[in-house]
Amino acid sequence: MQEPQAPPKKKKKIRVPKVINGVETMVEIEVDEDAGPGWGPNNGHTLLNHRLTRVDGPIKVSGTARYTYDMRVPNMLYGRILLCPHAHARLTKFDSSAASNIPGVKAIIQSPLQEYRFAGAPVAAVAAVTPEIAQDAVRAIVVNYEVLPHVVRAEDAIKPGAPKVVPDEKEENLQQKNKAGDPQKVEAAFNSGDVIVEAEYRTPRIHHACLETHGVVVDYSGGDAATVYASTQGTFTIPGDAADALGLPQSAITAIVQHMGGGFGSKFGIGIEGMLACKLSKETRAPVKLMLTRNDEFVMAGNRSGSWQKLKAAAKKDGTLVAVRATQYRLGGLGGGSQAGQPYVYHADEFYREVFALHTNEDSSIAMRAPGHPQASFAMESLMDELAYKIGMDPVAFRKKNLRDEAYHRQLDRGAREIGWDKRNLTPGANPEPLKRGLGCAVGTWGGGGNSECKVEVRVSRDGSVNVAVGTQDLGTGTRTFTRAIVAEELGLQILDVAEQIGNSNLGSANSSGGSTTAASLSPSVKDAAIKTRLALAEKIAPLFGNPKPDEIFFANGKATAGSKSLSWKQICAALPAAGVTAHGEWRSDLQGRGVHGVCFAEVEVDVETGKVRPIKMVQVQDGGLPLNRLTMESQINGGMIQSLGMAFWEGRVIDAKLGLQLNPGFGDYKLPGSLEIPEMVPIIDDGDKREVVIGIAEACIIPSLGALANAVFNACGVRVRELPITPDKILMALNGRKAA
C-alpha cells in the first residue's frame, strides 16, 4: 500500500473549534498544506448530497435498536437518587438505617456535600434489585435540613443584600464576564440616528427534555475491567470519569454508545448520575443501571440559561444601524450561562455591550443546542424589527442594509418568496377580524467547523465486505449513514455494501458531538480513509488489469475499471490477500469549512380575543457547504424550527420564588410542541452555497426561528411581547395596554 511517506509535507497553522462540555473554544493546530483530492463539485456525487434513508432506520422503527436505557446485564442492580428538596439547605441529619433494612436494597451512598444550593442537588443514591425497591429505599432515607436563605429570581438576585448564591462568600451574585465596544462613542452615535428604540427582552430557562434521560449502565462485578453503556454525546468522555470513580485504569474501561435518545448539548462526561452509578457498582461489586427519572432529569440535569437583555439602538431613516448598546445578563443559576454578544450578526456603526452572569439558587445551566445564540438572536431580531417599523422600512430590506454577508441576502430573498412576504401587514394588527395573521423573519449564524480528533479505519475483506470503524456516536443526526455513504461512494459501491461500527471507545478516537463539530470532524477522516483504501486496493489488484497505476483504476457501479477492462467488486476482492486491505484516515482541514448562515420566515395567526397563537407556516433556508445527506439535513432543519417553536410559545422552567422549587418538572406541565401545534414546515437547503466542504448545521437550525415567530406575532396583532414564551396572557395584557394608552 502506498501511504505516501516521501517528502515531508508542508505544514500550515489553522484555528479549529475544540468542544469541552458542549461549549467550543478555538485552538490553533498544524495541518498539511498539500491536501489531496477534494470532494469535487457538490452536484457531482453519486451518494452524498442525495436523499439517503438512514441505515439504522429499520432497527429504530422496529424497536430493536438497543439504547443505554434498554441495557440489562446479569445481576444488574437499579440505582436511584435522593434529591435535596430545598433551594438552599444544610444537612443536619442523615439516617439510612431504615432504608438499608428493606429487603433487596444493596447499597446506599451519601453525597460528600453538607450544603446544597439548589432544589434537586443529589444527596444520596441507592442500589436495589428492582427499580421499585430502589424507589422505596430513597423514600425511606431520613434526612433533616436546616433551610437557608435562597434567591431564584434574577430581579431579586441582583439586589444589594440578596442571599449569596455562589459558595465563595466574597463573590457577588452579579459577575461581569466581558465587555466590548466603546461606551462614549456609542452614546455620541445615538445622536446621529433618526429613531431610537430602547427595550428589555427576557427568555426563560429551557430544558433539553431528551426523551432518553441521562444515565449509564455500569457493567462491573469486581475484577480489572468494566464496560460502561452511556447515553452520551461523547463516547470518549466516559472512560476517564468512570475509571476515576471505579478506581480502575482508564484503559480498562470500554464505553459503549450504540444509540442514544437525544442530548441537545446536555450529555458530556459521565455526570453526577454516572459517578454515583460507578460508586454503587464498586461498592456492591455488581452491575448498576442508573437512569434519571423524568423529574430528576428536569431538576438536576441542566438547562439552557435564561436571559435578560436591556438594549438600546438607533437607526437612520435610510436603514443604517448606527448604534447599539446592550446590557446582557446570563441567567445560568449556579452556572455561568451563555449569551452571544450583541448586536449579534448585525453591523452597527458603534456598539457597546456589557455581559454579566447573574447567579440564582438553581441547577447550573449547561450547553444546549447553539448555547447563547437563540437568546441573543431573539432579542436582537425583535429590536431590529422594532426599528424597521419605526422608520417605516420593509424589515427584510432593513436587515439586508445591515448584513454584510451576501449569503444572507440570497437567503432572505429565497425565504421571502417561499412565505409570500408581500402579503404581510403593512400596518401590523390593522386587520379588523379577531383572527389576525402576520409574517416575520430573522437570521442566524454558527461555526460548524471540525477538528482533528477522528481516526477512522476502513477494512475491505476478501469476500467483498467493507467495514468502516470509528468510536464516534450518532445522536440521531445521521452520523452512521453519512459515514457509510462516504466510503461506499469512494469505492463505487451502494450504501448497503458497507457496514459501520461506531460508539465504542476501543475504536478509533473521535470528538464529542458538540458545537456542530461532528460532521466536519468525522467526514474528512472518513473520506481520507476511503481514498487510502481505494488506492491500496488498486495497488493490490493492479496485476488483474496489467499493472496500471493505482489512480488509473476507477471504482464505480460495483465495478473496477482500467482501460477497457472491468471486473466486479467480488472478483477484485477475491484477489486480495487473506487479511484483505486496511487503511487509516486522518482529518484534513481542506475537506471541511466553517461558518453557516440561515434565515427563517414564519406566519402565525393570533386570536386577539383569546390571545392564542396558531403557527401557520415556517420556512427556513440554511446553507452548510456540501450537504452530506439531504434527507437528514432537512430533518435537522425541521427539528431546529420545532425546538425554536417550543421556546417561542410554550416552554420555560417555572419556579416558585418563595420555595425555590421548579413547578413544572414533567411533560404534563413543561409544554413541548405536540402534533397539533406543528405548522406547515418548509426546510430549504441553500444550494446557492457552492463551498465544496462539509460544515455542521445542527445548531444553526435552532437560532433564527424565535425572532421570526415573535416578529410574526407583532405583524399579526400589532403588539410586541418581549418576554418568552409568548403566551396568551402576555398578548392580551399587551393588547389591553395598547388600548389603555
Binding site: 431528551c210 426523551l211 423524568r294 440521531g476 425541521n638 402534533s675
Partner: protein, 219 residues
C-alpha cells in the same frame, strides 16, 4: 416520578402538618391535587414513616402469564409493577421497544396495543394485562420485514434519535386499522398523545399518510 399504584402513603401524607405548611407556601389551593403528586416524593420522610415502611412486607410478587406478540410469556411481578416495567425489566429476553420516558402517561413512548387498542403501558398494571393480547412495536414488524408504517417511517425519515419512534409507529399502526385513509388533520389528532423532541412531526405525518396510501394501493 410515578406513584406506586396501591400505595397508602398519599392519604397518610395529607395529615402531615408539615405538608400542609408546604402547600400553603405554594399558594395553589385550586391546583392542589396536581402539585401534591409532584412534590410528594421530594418531601422529607419522617422517621415514623420510614419505620412504617420497614415494619412489614413492602409488597410481594406473583408469577403471571402474559400473551405478548402472540407468545405466552411468564414474569414475576409485584401488584404495583407496570406493564411497561414488566416488558422491559421482568421478561427474559426483554422487550425494550416500548420506551420508559415520562412514566406518567404524558409522552406516549411506551405505547403498546392491548387487544388492538393503543395504551400507555406505563399506566397499565401488569396484573391488569393478564388475559389480553399485548402487541409491542416488535410485534408489528422486524427490521427484515417492516410493516407498512415502519417502512414509511424509514422512507420519509420520520425519526431522528428514535426514542419516541416505537410509540409513534405503534399509535399510527393501530390508527390506520381504524381509519385506513385519514386526512392530515386526522393523523395529527391520532398522534397528539405522543411527544417527539428532535422534531420529526412533519415527517411522521408524511409517513402515516404514505403508509395509508401504500396500503390502499395494495388493496
Amino acid at each position: 416520578m410515578k406513584k406506586p399504584p396501591g400505595s397508602k402513603d398519599k392519604r397518610k401524607r395529607s395529615h402531615d402538618p408539615s405538608r400542609r405548611d408546604f402547600l400553603k407556601g405554594v399558594g395553589i389551593a385550586g391546583a392542589g391535587a396536581a402539585v401534591v403528586d409532584k412534590f410528594w416524593i421530594e418531601d422529607e420522610t419522617t422517621e415514623a414513616e420510614a419505620q412504617a415502611k420497614t415494619s412489614g412486607a413492602v409488597s410481594g410478587s406473583v408469577p403471571i402469564v402474559l400473551e405478548i406478540n402472540g407468545q405466552k410469556r411468564t414474569a414475576q411481578v409485584e401488584p404495583r409493577t407496570t406493564l411497561l416495567t414488566t416488558l422491559r425489566d421482568r421478561l427474559d429476553p426483554a422487550l425494550t421497544g416500548p420506551k420508559l420516558v415520562c412514566d406518567m402517561g404524558t409522552c406516549g413512548a411506551c405505547t403498546v396495543l392491548l387487544d388492538g387498542k393503543p395504551v400507555y403501558s406505563c399506566l397499565v398494571l401488569a396484573v391488569d394485562a393478564v388475559g389480553k393480547q399485548i402487541t409491542t412495536v416488535e410485534g408489528l414488524g422486524s427490521p427484515e420485514q417492516l410493516n407498512s408504517v415502519q417502512a414509511a417511517f424509514v422512507e420519509k425519515d420520520a425519526l431522528m434519535c428514535g426514542f419516541c419512534t416505537p410509540g409513534f409507529v405503534t399509535t399510527i399502526s393501530a390508527y390506520l386499522k381504524e381509519n385506513p385513509s385519514p386526512t392530515l388533520a386526522e393523523v395529527r389528532e391520532a398522534c397528539k398523545g405522543n411527544f417527539c423532541r428532535c422534531g420529526t412531526y412533519p415527517r411522521v405525518f408524511e409517513a402515516a399518510l404514505a403508509a395509508a396510501k401504500n396500503a390502499a394501493g395494495k388493496r
